[in-house]
């Protein structure tokens, strides 16, 4: 399973909405349930899934899902 599929699955689980589809520009303004609390849940779920860790600054600077996926790719290639 590639990164995008896994992220899509986590997003669907976190926001409890099976109709959501991945797009790089998908952001908090597009998803009704995406607020500061679900944002942290999403990040923690992704950290557990990929076994990586984001710094505090990184967590609150993702503007959309595309940036998140880029960051995950960077972290995975480092390891």
């Amino acid at each position: 399973m590639n990164i995008i599929e896994e992220v899509t699955k986590i997003i669907r689980e976190t926001f409890d909405d099976q109709t959501l589809n991945y797009s790089p520009s998908l952001s908090a303004s597009d998803i009704y349930a995406w607020d500061s609390i679900t944002h942290i849940n999403l990040i923690v779920a992704i950290e557990k899934n990929f076994n990586i860790k984001f710094t505090d600054n990184e967590i609150f600077e993702f503007k959309n899902v595309g940036e998140l996926v880029n960051s995950i790719q960077l972290k995975l290639s480092d390891v």
Partner: protein, 369 residues
């Protein structure tokens, strides 16, 4: 400070210089060099000495600290210095003007992550430390002004001075003057002389604090526009809020953003990562209450402020538990003045906030008189 003629003369001179320097980094450098002289007039030589010393010490600590076997990195050595400032100011006559705002700016500077920013802006270290004086002791916002985030301060862009910009800044300053010295004064007279009912008094005190503080902020923002050192907005029609949560996104915005960045987000992250709590609503309620208690203690270390923070924290947590804001936003769909119910919700917010001011009665009336 705004009622002093020498301040306005300096602002006018800086405005003329901003025409030449077109609001670039050089303009900020100039402000850094001029402000100590002006501060000398207002707060005395002691303040100027302490503020310059502070920036010098930060310059030496920015490489970290070596004490015998201990090695502290930049962040922790600066944090240590901040704690020392707090302890000294508490126990000795160590007076930094606008200390509480200085602390927040300093903390934001410590937590600034260089890696995200333009290389060009960070190339010359000493140059940045001259700027740091302007950031920590801003000429126009030193007493209580809107809190600029360091990341925004570092990343500013050059702007052209135009007549339109001049007009805009004069307009903002005039509105600020009217707010602070006419409307604010009017409410202070009303509170002192004519009103006896304590609940009505606290709601008038809320209006007084709004006009006084919003007027001050507007003047600082207007002066910033004029001299080429922009500050963020501080108020956005706070009395047109449909919930308490919305109110604090419209009231003292720059402080709310700082509190969210440095208290709410890290604390919430800590709670989720610790794994002891699984209920999301509980986690956010705890984070909200902690944030409000911290803000209250930042205002003043007293039992009244503690109760005020606790009251607001719990009130906002209850709103959060029932997803009050989301329901209202969904119902109104972004249109504030949809119908009669919006006015009821404005009143609900106003009454709740003025009741919270009822808890602060002693502090407020001391401040007004």
């Amino acid at each position: 400070m705004f009622d002093n003629i020498s301040f306005w003369v300096a602002v006018f001179l800086l405005y003329l210089s901003s025409q030449v320097l077109s609001c670039s980094r050089h303009q900020i450098t100039l402000i850094s060099f001029i402000s100590p002289f002006l501060f000398y007039f207002f707060f005395g030589i002691k303040f100027v000495f302490l503020s310059i010393l502070t920036v010098f010490i930060i310059f030496f600590l920015s490489n970290g600290l070596n004490i015998f076997f201990f090695k502290l990195n930049k962040k922790y050595s600066l944090l240590l210095f901040l704690i020392l400032i707090l302890v000294f100011s508490k126990n000795f006559d160590f007076h930094i003007v606008g200390l509480s705002y200085f602390i927040i700016r300093f903390y934001d500077y410590i937590h600034f992550d260089k890696s995200h920013f333009l290389e060009a802006n960070l190339k010359i270290k000493i140059y940045n430390h001259i700027h740091l004086y302007s950031y920590l002791f801003p000429l126009h916002a030193i007493l209580a002004g809107p809190l600029l985030q360091y990341s925004k301060f570092v990343n500013y862009k050059n702007r052209k001075m135009s007549f339109l910009r001049f007009q805009k800044s004069i307009y903002i300053i005039l509105v600020g003057l009217i707010f602070k010295y006419i409307l604010g004064y009017y409410f202070s007279i009303l509170i002192e002389n004519f009103i006896n009912n304590s609940l009505l008094k606290s709601s008038l005190a809320l209006l007084y604090v709004f006009f006084d503080f919003a007027g001050y902020s507007l003047m600082a923002i207007g002066v910033g526009f004029l001299i080429g050192y922009e500050l963020p907005a501080n108020f956005n029609n706070p009395f047109f809020s449909k919930s308490l949560g919305e109110f604090f996104e419209r009231w003292h915005i720059s402080l709310s953003l700082m509190a969210k960045k440095h208290i709410f987000n890290p604390f919430q992250l800590f709670l989720i990562r610790s794994g002891y709590f699984t209920n999301i609503k509980l986690i956010s309620s705890l984070s909200i209450t902690t944030t409000f208690l911290a803000i209250a203690m930042w205002h003043q270390l007293s039992i009244n402020f503690f109760l005020w923070g606790l009251f607001l924290g719990i009130a906002l947590s209850v709103e959060q538990l029932f997803s009050f804001r989301q329901k209202i936003d969904f119902y109104f769909n972004g249109n504030s003045f949809k119908n009669f119910y919006s006015i009821l919700l404005f009143m609900y917010t106003f009454i709740f906030i003025s009741f919270s001011y009822y808890l602060l009665a002693d502090e407020l009336y001391n401040m007004i008189s």
